[in-house]
């Protein structure tokens, strides 16, 4: 049995959550939460934490980078690998907000979050 402690981010309460994990890595119990949303968050965060990546890419012909994001969260452990791929990318104008720049970045699409005209 292992225990992990987390701060809940679902609401401003910031409950301290304790998650008990079985030796097989499954969630046995969540304590410390004051609502069901907290328990759900704890489970997800322990088993497969994901994050939306927001960063910039190089745009041809200008020093100013273009802001981008993944259209859905990607596994947290791949954030730095994702950064490497994004940093090697170069886009050409015109790009419209929402345009897909990479089709598969660890399960998500990389999309522009601003126009490049």
């Amino acid at each position: 049995m292992k225990t992990r402690e987390l701060t809940c981010i679902v609401c401003p309460m910031g409950c301290t959550l304790r998650v008990e994990l079985t030796d097989e890595g499954e969630v046995a119990a969540v304590t410390g939460n004051t609502c069901p949303r907290g328990a759900a968050y704890a489970k997800d965060e322990v088993l497969h934490p994901v994050r939306t990546l927001t960063t910039t890419v190089r745009a041809a012909g200008t020093d100013r980078p273009l802001p981008v994001k993944t259209d859905r969260p990607i596994p947290k452990e791949h954030l730095f690998d994702a950064m490497k791929r994004v940093n090697s990318l170069q886009v050409e104008a015109p790009v419209r907000i929402g345009d897909v720049l990479l089709d598969d970045l660890f399960g998500a699409k990389l999309v522009a979050t601003a126009d490049l005209l």
Partner: protein, 488 residues
């Protein structure tokens, strides 16, 4: 190798004014500065006061040059377009005993030649009428109407620029590391340059003793003495009209409270000897002392409106020397020291320049007037001083004057580009700040720094990652991001 009749070492306010004074004559003049800009040493950070001249010991160079320099300052500031205000000063007394000192200062002022109509001893009622925010504990004061405030680095920049406009050669980033003598001429190693000169004037500020050592002269040693200051937002600039000193006591000289020419309020300084000539740090203790001591003079100091703190170093002669050291070296009759210019050095600087020229003439330097000398330099602040209609005329011809880059101080792109290209050329953020006040306002560069970096890079052709805040090594950025394919 470039050859000059006179080379001035050090482009602080003294060196810059000396160089300018010499361009009034038909002379070839070099102004050599170790740093990347003029006015980075004691000139950059001091009280910015034009003292009346009642304080120095009678009979000293300090006394005579202070009184003369203060009298010259208004006209000089006008010629050079430098901010100056004749706001007068007060020495505040807090006891009957201190009033005695006030009377003694009055008498000394008269001995030193301070005009009689400029000095007056005020009682409590008169003082309060003049300065309603003066402390309730103040019992009287010495008023000196001829005292004023000036922008010290503005004065040095304008003097160096005017010297350059009148033909002087300005060498920046040129630290003097060796001085040799060959065929009766000095050979000066100044950074990448070799400069030949008949006469040298040592205006090297905090490093003047080290420059003296380069010709084997160890007749004086300087010790830096640090002063820490607090600067308030312009919202506090009218707390006092006069510059307020405290009566010097055995416990110390007290601290001053003064408006600045830019409309801020300044309090300080501390006075502590330091062993490091580059130490511009502030300390929690020092700033606490300034806050506490300044609070004795005036009511209503609002410390929430402090926008920055800073410190400066004064070059104070060690040992027996109590006066300015302005004399030819005993080692070489063509090497003139202009050293130990501590307070009231700024006030005296215009007169020091004339005095130096006189000493050089007496030493045999031929000095015919330069018919092409133009005493005037357009102020770095020329644009902001125009009327709205005049500004519009300028903006119509050059729209860059219509784009505000520093919002707190309303500095336009046009002014910045001009300062980057005009002598003495600004190549760093601090250099721009000293000329235009960009980044000196309430946000302290938060908004304009990235914009200034873009403009400096564009106008100087340097990469943003090569740009400095000020001193060598003070790089602003660590790298460029998003190299795209190069990175892969």
């Amino acid at each position: 190798m470039n050859s000059y009749q006179v080379a001035v070492i050090g482009a602080g306010v003294v060196g810059s004014l000396v160089a300018r004074e010499l361009t009034k004559y038909d002379l070839s003049v070099a102004l050599i500065e170790a740093r990347e800009d003029v006015a980075t040493g004691s000139t950059a950070a001091n009280s910015s006061i034009v003292h009346g001249g009642f304080d120095p010991e009678p009979g000293t160079l300090k006394a005579s040059l202070n009184v003369k320099g203060t009298a010259m300052m208004p006209a000089l500031a006008a010629e050079l377009g430098v901010s100056y205000r004749n706001n007068g000063s007060l020495v505040i007394a807090f006891s009957a005993e201190e009033m005695e000192t006030v009377r003694a200062l009055y008498a000394r002022g008269r001995t030193n030649g301070v005009p009689a109509d400029s000095l007056s001893v005020l009682g409590q009622a008169e003082l309060r009428k003049l300065e309603p925010n003066v402390s309730d504990d103040a019992v009287g004061a010495l008023r000196c109407a001829s005292a004023g405030i000036v922008c010290p680095y503005g004065l040095a920049i304008a003097a160096a620029g005017n010297a350059a406009d009148n033909g002087a050669s300005l060498y920046l980033s040129a630290p003097v590391t060796a001085i040799a003598k060959r065929d009766g001429k000095f050979l000066v190693t100044a950074g990448p340059h070799m400069i030949q000169a008949d006469y040298l004037v040592n205006c090297a500020g905090l490093y003047a003793d080290r420059v003296a050592r380069l010709i084997g002269d160890d007749s004086f040693t300087l010790r830096p003495r640090k002063g820490e200051y607090l600067l308030f937002d312009k919202s506090e600039g009218e707390l006092t009209g006069h510059t307020m000193f405290q009566v010097p006591t055995t416990a110390g000289k007290g601290v001053l409270v003064t408006p600045t020419v830019d409309g801020n309020l300044l309090i300080g300084p501390t006075s502590v000897f330091s062993d490091d000539r580059e130490d511009k740090s502030t300390s929690a203790d020092g700033l606490a002392f300034v806050r506490e001591t300044a609070g004795k003079s005036v009511k209503g100091l609002n410390f929430r409106q402090v926008i920055t703190s800073f410190s400066g170093l004064r070059a104070v002669p060690d040992g027996e020397e109590k006066d300015f050291i302005i004399r030819f070296s005993e080692r070489d009759g063509h090497f003139l020291h202009c050293a130990g210019i501590e307070s009231p050095g700024l006030s005296a600087s215009p007169a020091i320049a004339v005095y130096v020229a006189d000493l050089l003439r007496d030493a045999g330097l031929p000095m015919r007037p330069n018919p092409r000398f133009d005493p005037c330099r357009r102020s770095d602040h020329w644009f902001r001083r125009l009327s709205a209609a005049e500004k519009n005329e300028v903006i119509r011809k050059d729209p860059r004057y219509g784009r505000v880059v520093c919002r707190c101080e309303t500095v336009t792109e046009g002014e910045i580009v001009e300062a980057i290209h005009r002598a003495p050329q600004a190549t760093t953020l601090d250099a721009l700040k000293r000329r235009l006040r960009s980044g000196m306002g309430r946000c302290q560069g938060g908004f304009c720094t990235p914009l200034l970096v873009e403009l400096l890079a564009k106008e100087t052709g340097k990469a943003p990652t090569e740009l400095c805040k000020g001193a060598p090594g003070s790089l602003l950025l660590a790298g460029t991001l998003k190299k795209g394919a190069e990175q892969a």
